[in-house]
């Protein structure tokens, strides 16, 4: 009843091509963004930032990155963890080698470096498809982690083999390092993630996105009508890796503070982010956020509910939580194989005509 576009007439293609053509959607998104920027920073605590909001935002960014490659362009990749590591190590090397460099520049350059690495590992995608490509990208995952473990130059010859972030400021606010305030780290991450989510949405709905989806839906037909597969796929690899690289840099510099390649950027991360986009919805920016929210926030919610709500032992609830997560994933995939974003879309279609059945 409230979600209905009746009476909203579009008289130009410009207004019809707008990001959120339906007024209710527009107000809702504006409301959420304003709330995230203007309200949350005043109430944020260390726990909320480090346990919930930062991982949610950073994984959402990585999920957008993978969604561009897998969801929009149809190229299955298991190298996400490796690309996160490239972003993290690039930001580390840049920050330690050029202490004066602006943090934003550091992050953008980390993204660009990861994009180059992504292009390199994306070249086989012209010949290899589907599961075989996934295995080829798996090679990049293992190779990159091995490289960062074995070559001391990457971790500045530190004795532990770990990298830890030096404290850096932006506009006089401390963003990285252990003394950074949660509100600042949150706002910094939120700003980057919102901007890049908007850019991703623009790419996805424009010509670039159309060429990706054409390759995804039927690559031979796309080639015959004149879309160049190699170029399109490599652009997807580059953009996707750029996003994942920035997410990796954020993950290391803003959220974790220190990292060790095998643990922080292992194959688990690749799978985690792949699950996020499958559960959230392939080929959907909103779905990337939903998937990240589900995979990051749901375990914490379940744990809190069982430990604080039901009074179960923490160790016991840990195991139950893992099982429940598995059950929930299966449940959601059976209810809607196209993910939470599709579920949301169906809900909106139903809302439009509510209270009538059709």
């Amino acid at each position: 009843m409230f979600y209905r576009e009746a009476g909203q007439f579009k008289t130009t293609y410009k207004s019809d091509q707008a990001l959120f053509p339906i007024a209710q959607d527009r107000y809702f998104v504006i409301g959420v963004v304003l709330f995230a920027f203007l309200v949350i920073p005043f109430f944020i605590t260390d726990y909320w930032a480090n346990a919930l909001l930062l991982p949610f935002l950073i994984y959402a960014l990585a999920a957008i990155g993978l969604n561009i490659l897998t969801g929009y362009c149809g190229q299955l990749s298991l190298g996400t963890g490796g690309f996160l590591a490239v972003g993290a190590y690039a930001s580390y090397k840049l920050m330690t080698s050029f202490p004066e460099m602006n943090l934003i520049v550091v992050f953008l350059l980390s993204g660009l470096i990861t994009a180059l690495v992504g292009i390199f590992f994306g070249v086989p995608s012209l010949r290899i498809k589907g599961f075989y490509l996934a295995v080829a990208t798996l090679a990049s995952q293992f190779f990159i982690v091995w490289l960062f473990n074995k070559v001391p130059w990457f971790f500045n010859y530190s004795a532990t083999g770990q990298i830890s972030v030096p404290p850096r400021e932006i506009f006089g606010f401390l963003v990285t390092g252990p003394d950074a305030s949660p509100a600042i780290t949150y706002l910094f991450t939120l700003t980057l993630v919102s901007i890049f989510a908007l850019l991703a949405k623009n790419m996805a709905r424009g010509n670039v996105g159309r060429s990706w989806m054409a390759i995804r839906d039927m690559d031979i037909a796309a080639e015959i009508i004149g879309i160049r597969p190699l170029k399109t796929k490599l652009i997807a690899f580059a953009v996707s890796s750029f996003y994942i690289g920035i997410a990796g840099a954020l993950l290391f510099a803003v959220w974790l503070g220190s990292a060790e390649p095998t643990e922080a950027f292992g194959i688990d991360q690749s799978f985690l982010i792949l699950f996020m986009i499958i559960i959230g919805g392939l080929g959907s920016i909103l779905g990337s956020f939903m998937g990240a929210a589900f995979m990051v926030l749901m375990p914490i919610f379940l744990k809190n509910f069982m430990v604080d709500g039901l009074g179960l032992q923490p160790a016991f609830s840990e195991h139950v939580q893992i099982m429940l997560m598995g059950v929930l994933i299966i449940f959601f995939l059976i209810v809607e194989p196209h993910g939470l974003a599709r579920l949301w879309q169906i809900a909106k279609e139903k809302l439009r005509i509510w209270p009538f059945p059709y």
Binding site: N207, A221, G226
Partner: protein, 274 residues
């Protein structure tokens, strides 16, 4: 079919000429020494029994297959190695025998993809384009709206306004074929290759599609090469017909000439064994 002789149209300028083209896959000779020409503005049909090499011929024209021998001239220029993207940029568009739409995208987006080859840029231009698209700024926004306008004209032309936002996977077959024609038209082709545009359609859909083909030819002046199995449609629509059988050309001429050709009758109906 038609009792009174249809007025024959005369075309002068050659848009495509194929001379002595041979294509084989390993030992299978798909096309053997086939030569023909297509004149600008005409509707040219390619017919023949199954496996005659019709679709292979379209794939050759379109640059997807590379013939081992022979020469193809498009708009007077001979070509050697070809890629579909080059052919598309030169003005050759096509549709497919089995509908080859992008199932996850809406009708509008599918037709919009037809504009993509028109917007090909160099590597540097492509990179700039990605950034502009991402920011949805200036030239990117303008070109997006221009393309939308062009595509909307095609949508009007094909009378598919009502399914603009529908994912094509949900459309009935006849409409999917129409959307596919729309996608090819969005490329502003000079030569349009239609691979069995009416396969699997009912009478009404066939009539609609025939009307669209004639209208495209008439209004946009597009040269059309079509493959079709429905002989009555072919006879009515086309100006000239090529008949292929086992990869060889067995006849070439106006519908009347082809209809009375003994080799064609043999190919279609079989040769009696005495």
């Amino acid at each position: 079919m038609s009792p009174e002789p249809v007025q024959t149209r005369i075309f002068e300028e050659e848009i495509l000429s194929v001379s002595d083209v041979s294509l084989s896959f390993g030992g299978v000779k798909a096309i053997q020494n086939v030569s023909f020409d297509i004149k600008r503005g005409e509707i040219r049909a390619i017919i023949g029994p199954n496996g005659a090499g019709k679709t292979s011929m379209l794939n050759v024209i379109n640059g997807f297959y590379h013939p081992q021998e022979g020469l193809i001239r498009f708009k007077g220029k001979a070509r050697r190695r070809m890629r579909p993207s080059i052919a598309a940029a030169q003005g050759i568009a096509r549709t497919f025998q089995n509908v080859a739409l992008f199932k996850g995208m809406s009708t509008l987006d599918n037709i919009m993809t037809g504009r993509l080859p028109r917007l090909e840029k160099g590597i540097f231009g492509e990179i700039v384009n990605v950034f502009l698209q991402a920011a949805y700024l200036g030239p990117a926004r303008r070109s997006e709206l221009e393309q939308r306008k062009y595509v909307e004209e095609i949508i009007d032309f094909l009378e598919i306004q009502h399914i603009r936002r529908t994912p094509v996977g949900r459309l009935p077959y006849g409409l999917q074929k129409r959307v596919e024609l729309g996608r090819a038209l969005a490329m502003e082709p000079e030569l349009l290759l239609l691979d069995e545009p009416m396969a699997g359609m009912n009478l009404e859909e066939k009539e609609d599609m025939s009307r669209f083909i004639i209208d495209v030819n008439d209004q946009y002046g597009t040269t059309i090469a079509l493959i079709e199995h429905d002989i009555s449609v072919v006879m009515d629509l086309s100006d000239r017909i090529i008949v292929l059988d086992y990869g060889r050309k067995i006849a070439d001429g106006t519908p009347g000439e082809v209809q009375s050709n003994q080799a064609v009758m043999d190919a279609y109906l079989g040769v009696p064994h005495e």
